[in-house]
């Protein structure tokens, strides 16, 4: 029986029929998705912090409002994704517990500090830009709730990307100090953004199965290449220099060549040794702990109200 279930499951996927929460699915499919969606949700939430860091210091009111709205969007993305993850059998509180304990991962990029206003531009342009490259294919992921969440997310991400690029454009058309600020931000965010696509394909053990299940549609290296190719042209318009001496158009490949990635740094950041790993987790955990009495009170109040309504119904 098991084999038939697996076969018909795979056939559905091959036929591009979405898998829904009530459908049978292999345990490993469920687990893989749950890990991926929850990591994605956690990334949205932790990703709020580096940008929230500049809300109170935004250089003008228009930018302040746009940044607030952007960070708020990320909270919304977290919500959609936690809801999608919940359909696979874990509650949001359980998922958060894994984030707080350090068991669950989130995107390493958010373990870098935001040191100047230009970082708001660089993050929007590069980090949201890389996220879009990763996420647009996920709008067609085989699992229905995830795919639908991603459609909503992607619309907003492309808006964030344009907004970030526009910040960079303003800076690079501005004073010498502003241009330097923009270049410095690009220097710091470039490599971490390139690493957002994950390990090289020959080092990505689960990729084949994920491709077969259509949880993944393009390889890490293909997406990374696409991101680099697009970004080079965008940096040129900005008049900024991408910090890679080996960046060169390769006529034969039809792509840009670039330097070998420093995976040692990448692995250190994943291992918890990035510049802000501890601060990010601490901020998330303390917000959660400080909010505990609020959540408890909301539950207690709701229970009291429910009892009152019950009593009324009985009396009536």
């Amino acid at each position: 029986m098991e084999i038939n279930l697996e076969e018909s499951f795979q056939k559905k996927i091959d036929d591009e029929i979405r898998i829904e929460p009530r459908d049978w699915m292999p345990e490993k499919y469920r687990k893989t998705l749950l890990r991926q969606i929850s990591q994605h949700a956690h990334s949205e939430i932790v990703g709020m912090l580096p940008e929230a860091n500049w809300i109170t210091r935004a250089p003008n009111l228009r930018r302040k409002v746009a940044l607030l709205a952007k960070v708020q969007d990320e909270a919304g993305h977290g919500l959609y994704l936690y809801s999608a993850a919940e359909t696979l059998g874990m509650t949001r509180d359980e998922l958060l517990e894994e984030l707080h304990s350090g068991k669950a991962k989130y995107s390493s990029i958010f373990n870098y500090p935001t040191l100047s206003w230009a970082d708001m531009g660089a993050i929007g342009w590069l980090v949201d830009g890389a996220a879009i490259m990763n996420q647009v294919p996920l709008c067609r992921v085989s699992y229905g709730p995830y795919a639908r969440a991603m459609v909503r997310v992607c619309k907003e991400e492309s808006f964030h990307q344009r907004q970030g690029y526009e910040i960079m454009l303003t800076l690079s058309n501005g004073s010498e100090e502003q241009k330097a600020m923009a270049q410095d931000a690009l220097n710091r965010w470039w490599w971490p953004s390139v690493m957002m696509f994950g390990p090289n394909d020959d080092n990505s053990p689960n990729s084949a199965q994920s491709m077969k299940w259509k949880i993944k549609r393009f390889s890490n290296d293909d997406l990374r290449q696409k991101f680099i190719d697009v970004s080079v042209a965008q940096a040129e318009i900005l008049g900024l220099t991408i910090p890679d001496n080996n960046l060169k158009w390769n006529e034969a490949r039809g792509h840009y060549d670039f330097s070998t990635i420093d995976w040692i740094e990448f692995n250190e950041v994943i291992a918890g040794n990035g510049p802000c790993n501890k601060q990010r987790l601490k901020a998330i955990v303390s917000a959660w702990q400080n909010g505990e009495w609020v959540r408890d009170a909301a539950v207690a109040y709701a229970e009291k109200q429910a009892k009152k309504t019950d009593n009324k119904t009985i009396a009536a």
Partner: protein, 252 residues
């Protein structure tokens, strides 16, 4: 004082109120007690700063001399800010934040309700638009006041402490400054003394429903609306104005 200066100063006062509370609330973004409320408080923040921007833009027009919403918001010092003291008080915790919001919402609601019918069309128009938003803010903060007051023992205690601490900053709203009085005479402002009973009625009702009490002590702080602030405002402005001060005169 000329009429145009009274109008300008009055608009600034209205704008500063919402700007400073918006700036304070913005500190919550990404640190809220639960995602849904992180989003909710940020919505309120966006509305408040949105209202402040419309008012600053109007103030900039009244001022002329190439003033913009940003030159007005980012280049005035503490003494020139005319917000009420309540709004610059620190977030402290969710209880203080909800209570501060509620006290202001209940006032803001009554104020805008009057302003939308007064003679300055721009102020009336902004008030009309903001009133819709503030109606929601008041609903949100009233509900949270009740929920946390009538929640657990811990939450009740925290809410009562916040009320006791912030109560002394509520009276200032209803003591008119010279600008408010003159603006009222011009037909563009509210008579804030008259708003007090309306405010008190709402505040009493919600606090009672929340099983909390209004403090018996009656001393009230005063001064923010005249530019005499608490120590907090200097730090708020230092943070808020940092970029404009460090890199003056450029586009962002």
């Amino acid at each position: 004082m000329q009429d145009s200066d009274i109008r300008f100063q009055y608009v600034l006062h209205l704008a500063d109120n919402s700007m400073i509370l918006g700036q304070r609330n913005a500190e919550w973004c990404s640190h809220g007690p639960v995602l849904e409320q992180d989003i909710a408080i940020t919505n309120i923040t966006l509305d408040l700063i949105g209202e402040a921007r419309s008012l600053y833009a109007y103030a900039a027009e009244l001022k002329g001399e190439n003033a913009t919403e940003d030159t007005i918001a980012f280049t005035r010092d503490v003494k020139q800010y005319k917000n009420a003291l309540l709004l610059e008080q620190p977030n402290t915790d969710w209880a203080y934040t909800v209570v501060r919001q509620f006290f202001y919402d209940a006032f803001h609601f009554q104020l805008l309700n009057v302003l939308q019918k007064r003679k300055d069309e721009r102020i009336a128009e902004i008030a009309h638009k903001s009133l819709k938003e503030v109606t929601y803010h008041l609903k949100w903060s009233s509900e949270w006041l009740i929920r946390l007051g009538d929640g657990t023992d811990i939450s009740r205690e925290k809410m009562q402490i916040a009320i006791n601490d912030l109560w002394e900053y509520t009276g200032e709203f209803f003591i008119p400054t010279e600008i408010e009085t003159k603006a009222f005479e011009l037909g563009i402002a509210a008579d804030v003394e008259k708003l007090k009973p309306l405010w008190l009625e709402k505040v009493k009702a919600i606090i009672e429903q929340a099983t909390l009490t209004i403090p018996s002590k009656n001393f009230q702080q005063n001064g923010g609306k005249n530019g005499l602030h608490s120590e907090h405002l200097g730090f708020i402005l230092a943070e808020m104005q940092f970029m404009q001060r460090a890199y003056p005169g450029v586009e962002w």
